[in-house]
Structure formats: structure tokens, C-alpha cells
């Protein structure tokens, strides 16, 4: 391959578990680095995404900053992949979705026992939470989804190598997991 594909990754309302599983491809990372180079990613610590071939986003959208980052990825990435349960259906953070956000914040910061002089965090540097946690596809167009909590290293490897080889990625029974 004459030119390496440029790949960006980020975690929004996720736990970085999908990134850890990505690192679990172990020595295959070296083979991957023959094919791709990394743009914005925890691996490079680049803060903003430039033009990329593939963007991989972990986690759902739970606050205003998540929305900005996701739009940055969509704008710059030819192919955008949602990785993991949270990116796909909101996952664990979305389990607050049937509750009122104001009640959640009140209970967590004000009314729980032992919270004398508590207050709801309002530092301007903190991104505002959204009233609901959204899967990525509710905010921007997503081209591919890799399910799992997290997807196994083998699933990630299979998916990416299929994609890089120009094939429609397929997981099959052994690699497709929602848990």
C-alpha cells in the first residue's frame, strides 16, 4: 500500500474499555501500524482530529462536549465506526434515560445523606450534561457498528482488517456479542 490510512479514535461517554480491548490486539498492533497511522487518539495525544480515512468512536453522547467531538469526527472521517455497547445504544450511561436529569443531580449532589453543603457542579469548564444519553447514530450518520461490551480484540481486528482490505466487515457467530 503506497499511502497509509489515517485513523482517529476517541471515547465519549464510555469507559475506555473498548480502547483497552483495541490494545488487546497485542502484537497485531505492529502489523496494523504497517497499514495505518494515527491522528487524534489517546495513543498520540493529538487534541483535534484532522482529515482521516477511519474514525472510531467509543461511548455514547451524554454532554455538550461529546456532541462537538462527534461532529468533528464526522466532518473529518470518511468512514465513522461506532464501537461498543455505549456507542450503539447508550449502554450503561443511558440507564439514566428513564429518569429526570434534574432529579438525578439533586439526589446525587444535594439530598443523599452525608452531602452537607453539597452543590450541583457548575464550573464553566464542565460540559453541560444532556437530558438524555444518545447513541451515536442519533446524532450523526454512522457507517459501521462493532457491538460488544467491549468487542473482543479478535472482533476489532477482524472488523478493521476486513475494512482495510476493502471488504464488507463480517463478524460471524463467534465474534458478534452484545455483552
Amino acid at each position: 500500500m503506497s499511502k497509509k490510512l489515517r485513523v482517529a479514535t476517541t471515547s465519549l461517554a464510555g469507559c475506555f474499555g473498548c480502547h483497552m480491548s483495541f490494545l488487546d490486539i497485542d502484537e497485531r498492533l505492529l502489523a496494523l501500524l504497517d497499514l495505518v497511522e494515527f491522528d487524534r487518539s489517546p495513543i498520540t495525544d493529538i487534541k483535534h482530529c484532522g482529515p482521516c480515512d477511519i474514525g472510531i468512536v467509543e461511548g455514547g453522547v451524554c454532554n455538550a462536549e461529546n456532541v462537538h467531538v462527534l461532529h468533528e469526527f464526522r466532518k473529518n472521517c470518511k468512514i465513522l465506526i461506532a464501537i461498543g455497547a455505549c456507542a450503539i445504544n447508550g449502554g450503561l450511561p443511558a440507564q439514566r434515560n428513564h429518569l429526570d436529569l434534574g432529579s438525578c443531580l439533586t439526589e446525587v449532589y444535594l439530598t443523599e445523606p452525608g452531602l452537607a453543603h453539597g452543590h450541583i457542579p457548575n464550573d464553566p469548564e464542565l460540559p453541560l450534561p444532556l437530558d438524555k444519553v444518545h447513541p451515536l447514530h442519533e446524532v450523526v450518520k454512522i457507517d459501521y457498528f462493532i457491538p460488544g461490551c467491549p468487542p473482543s480484540a479478535d472482533a476489532i481486528w477482524k472488523f478493521l482488517t476486513d475494512l482495510i482490505a476493502g471488504k464488507t466487515p463480517e463478524l460471524g457467530h463467534d465474534l458478534i456479542k452484545y455483552d
Partner: protein, 248 residues
């Protein structure tokens, strides 16, 4: 057993009174299904088992087998529709597989795997549904109910207890417990009930055994549901002789 119909090009023998689904499974041909259970009258509600018969779409679990029918099932047109049905069921309830005790033993999840459903795609409803942990041995998590009515059928037809019912209509339809308090502790439900065994998803759960079999070693982690449904054959006789959907 001399008469046959055609299913995806194969000849399927059937006995008089069998449905297309029953004859197909007995002959080793899998048709995806969720609300169908071999021990109960067909319900015809989930529509996962929809097939094309002589060009028309029908629920194979309620369609009586007839000689020379031309049935199509494993075709992309129908599998795409089945994928959408599974996706809509996921979007309509709160199905968080990573935190569900039923994960790996769940038919909805297993169908998702088998149909290669990678994501829901629809806007999730995130409904506000209660838990009922009042019973000493049994937990009810209504977040995962897909309204197949198998527990309703099992409780009334086998257990003779009538513990469950469906209430409401359309999008407000939901599973309820038949007790004045609405709580499971005020029913005669027991761990040994048939209604404990039939839930295809993670609504009716025995307490204190949640993860005794680890994630990754469960039924549908081992082999696809399409293979295991056939292992369950030969199918047992159907209770009653009519189809619930037709009688309503």
C-alpha cells in the same frame, strides 16, 4: 405422512393439522421465531417467523401446512425484515445486554447474532418500566418484555395460576401481574412453575443464580440459535388444536 410442501426448495413432509413451522422444525428446517414455543398454541405475534407462501407473506407458526405450498423463508428480503423486527424490539424496551443476567441465554439476543444485527439503528424509546423484586425467589424486570405472552400462556394453561396478563393497547401494552397489589409476592408463583422456564428474554429471573454460569459459556455463546432450535426437535404435541391468533 405422505404429503409434502416445498420450503426453500426442499420437500417437507407433514401430518394433517401441523403448521408450516411445526412441520419445518420436525423435518430439520429452521425458521426464526420468538413467540412460538413447541409446547403451546401458536400466538402469531412476533412475526419473526414470517415466510412467503405462494408469494404472500404469512406467519409460519399459524399457517396450516398444505400439500404443494411453495414456502420461501431463508431469503434476503425476509431476513432484512426480520432484522428490522429484532431492531425494533431492542429499541422499544431497555435491552442492556452487558448488565442482563439472561445474556447468552436470551433468544432475542441470539436472533440478533444469527441475523448479524450489529446495531439497532432506530431511535431508542428508553421507556420507564418498573422492577418487581417483591417475591422471595423471583425477580421481574419488565424493561426487557417483548410481549410474546409465553408466560401468560404457561401460567394459565400449564400452571393453572393465571399469574400474568397483558394490559393496555398499542405502544402502552405491557405485562402485568394478576394480584390486587400488582406485585408478584401476592401471587402463588413458584420457581417450579412452567412460567419460570418460558421467558425468551430476561424478564422472569430466579434470584441468587444470576451469574452461576459465566458470560461466554452460556447456551447461545456456544452455538447459533438456528442450530439449537433444531436440537430441541422432535417437537412435542401442541396443546389444543386451534391457533390463538385466529380465535381472537
Amino acid at each position: 405422512m405422505n404429503e409434502t410442501f416445498q420450503l426453500d426448495g426442499a420437500s417437507v413432509p407433514f401430518e394433517p393439522g401441523q403448521t408450516v413451522m411445526q412441520a419445518a422444525l420436525a423435518a430439520g428446517h429452521y425458521i426464526p421465531h420468538l413467540c412460538y414455543h413447541p409446547e403451546f398454541k401458536p400466538h402469531g405475534s412476533c412475526k419473526l417467523c414470517t415466510v412467503k407462501i405462494n408469494g404472500r407473506t404469512m406467519a409460519s407458526c399459524t399457517m396450516p401446512a398444505e400439500a404443494d405450498l411453495n414456502v420461501e423463508s431463508d431469503i434476503e428480503e425476509l431476513n432484512a425484515l426480520r432484522r428490522s423486527l429484532v431492531q425494533m424490539l431492542f429499541a422499544e424496551g431497555n435491552h442492556f445486554c452487558p448488565s442482563c443476567e439472561k445474556s447468552g441465554n436470551c433468544m432475542l439476543q441470539a436472533l440478533g447474532y444469527d441475523l448479524e444485527v450489529h446495531a439497532t439503528g432506530f431511535r431508542h424509546l428508553y421507556p420507564d418500566r418498573p422492577l418487581d423484586a417483591t417475591h422471595p425467589d423471583i425477580l421481574l424486570d419488565f424493561n426487557r418484555c417483548i410481549l410474546c405472552e409465553l408466560c401468560v400462556r404457561a401460567s394459565s394453561e400449564v400452571d393453572g395460576k393465571n399469574v400474568f396478563a397483558l394490559a393496555g393497547r398499542g405502544i402502552t401494552k405491557h405485562l402485568i401481574v394478576n394480584a390486587e397489589s400488582g406485585l408478584l409476592k401476592d401471587t402463588s408463583m413458584a420457581l417450579t412453575d412452567k412460567a419460570m422456564q418460558v421467558c425468551p428474554v430476561g424478564v422472569i429471573l430466579p434470584k441468587r443464580v444470576g451469574f452461576s454460569v459465566p458470560i461466554g459459556e452460556r447456551r447461545y455463546d456456544q452455538r447459533p440459535i438456528s442450530e439449537q432450535a433444531l436440537d430441541d426437535a422432535p417437537r412435542q404435541p401442541v396443546r389444543g388444536d386451534g391457533c390463538a391468533a385466529c380465535e381472537e
